[in-house]
């Protein structure tokens, strides 16, 4: 098993982060193509693409705790979180590769952050600490790079208290790891 990885890509980070949190040893090989395609997991003689599918595959490995699976009756939000990560990834690449600095936060970023904030805020009032329910799951791992790296798009986090709360509790998880642009927890 091996990850075709680009260290600065947000979707690749989601997979490395997930492996670290789940206690999976995941060797990586640097592959510049991953900046475009996102992470690719070489496994069982084949290739698996898409951060959500890869993370779900990791949760099924024998060494991974059942806690990373959804509880009975819990809503699956992986597809929503993956689509949000794709959006952020696209916007972030556009901002980081732009020839000239852009002025202000683009409206599409505000829309994305609002959607995430609404969901986290409602969850909190319903005593649902994680997107995935009582324990963090694949959807939470996909969400973290979005909200943490939103700083690359200069999103002011004072406007999003539920997102701040999510970032704080996520960073306290055992096995949490950073990437450039995501500061260490203290």
């Amino acid at each position: 098993m091996r990850l075709r990885d680009w260290a600065l890509d947000d979707r690749c980070y989601a997979v490395r982060l997930g492996a670290s949190l789940m206690g999976v040893h995941l060797p990586t090989i640097t592959d510049a193509a991953a900046l475009e395609t996102g992470p690719v997991l070489e496994i069982d003689g084949g290739c698996l693409r898409g951060p959500a599918d890869i993370l779900q595959r990791l949760t099924s490995l024998p060494e991974v705790s059942r806690d990373w699976h959804l509880g009975i009756g819990e809503e699956r939000r992986d597809a929503w979180a993956e689509s949000a990560l794709e959006q952020l990834s696209h916007l972030r690449r556009a901002a980081l590769l732009a020839a000239l600095p852009t002025d202000g936060v683009p409206p599409s970023v505000f829309r994305l952050m609002t959607e995430i904030e609404d969901r986290l805020s409602d969850d909190r009032l319903c005593d649902r600490p994680w997107l995935s329910g009582r324990h963090p799951g694949v959807a939470d791992i996909l969400l973290f790079p979005i909200v943490a790296l939103s700083q690359d798009l200069e999103v002011p986090l004072d406007l999003y208290p539920a997102i701040r709360n999510f970032i704080r509790q996520f960073k306290a998880l055992p096995g949490f790891m950073t990437m450039p642009g995501v500061p260490e927890c203290h």
């Binding site: 505000f110 609002t114 904030e117 609404d118 805020s121 409602d122 009032l125 319903c126 002011p156 986090l157 004072d158 406007l159 999003y160 208290p161 539920a162 701040r164 709360n165 704080r168 500061p183 203290h186």
Partner: protein, 203 residues
């Protein structure tokens, strides 16, 4: 004129954490010690200007993320890690504002003489601080809020502040714990309505 501004819900600044806030562009660090007390300081370390809201709370002090200078509840510097032997002079301090927690909301005044009488004295439970992409003045008009200060609308306390021109943070607290979800839903409807209205206003 009111001196108190609602900057956040109390629940959004948990014990032993720091959070950023802005008031008309002025950056303010909110933080809460283990004793539950909330503090509001200028969001700038007097050492190198780093934002203190990036810092962390340890032993009742707020520590700057940059070089770890620690400031106590009275805002004076207590410890400089690079000079552990140094008795830190009282002249080194963060700039503190007044902070009060009432009705589930953290209120901050830049005026030291602000009267507490302006603040709500009923109990309430924070439901939602929500971003509305519209200027505060038009939000106040649309919600029939007074020109300044806050208002009870039935079982919901409504207050607002402007982090930067054109953006409003609407803070809503519920008179009862059970009603918070309803009020949070009302906050979202209100936001969507206000943003739709704002888009219709020609720039």
């Amino acid at each position: 004129m009111t001196d108190w501004f609602p900057l956040a819900l109390g629940m959004d600044v948990p014990s032993e954490t720091a959070a950023p806030a802005r008031l008309y562009g002025k950056e303010i660090a909110l933080w809460r010690g283990a004793d539950g007390q909330v503090h509001a300081w200028e969001d700038r370390c007097p050492h190198r200007g780093m934002r203190l809201s990036f810092g962390f709370v340890r032993n009742g002090n707020l520590a700057c993320l940059y070089h770890g200078w620690q400031f106590g509840a009275d805002a004076t510097c207590r410890h400089i890690p690079a000079h552990p032997e140094l008795r830190v002079p009282g002249t080194i301090h963060a700039h503190a504002y007044r902070a009060e927690e009432r009705a589930g909301i953290i209120w901050v005044s830049l005026n030291e003489d602000a009267s507490l009488d302006e603040l709500p004295d009923e109990d309430a439970f924070g439901a939602r601080s929500i971003l509305v992409q519209a200027p505060l003045a038009s939000v106040r008009v649309a919600l029939a809020l007074p020109e300044e200060g806050w208002k009870w609308q039935e079982d919901c306390l409504v207050a607002a502040h402007e982090p930067e021109p054109g953006l409003t943070m609407l803070h809503m607290a519920s008179a009862t714990l059970a009603n918070r979800l309803d009020i949070a839903a009302r906050a979202k409807t209100t936001r969507d309505h206000l943003e739709a209205l704002n888009e219709k206003v020609p720039a």
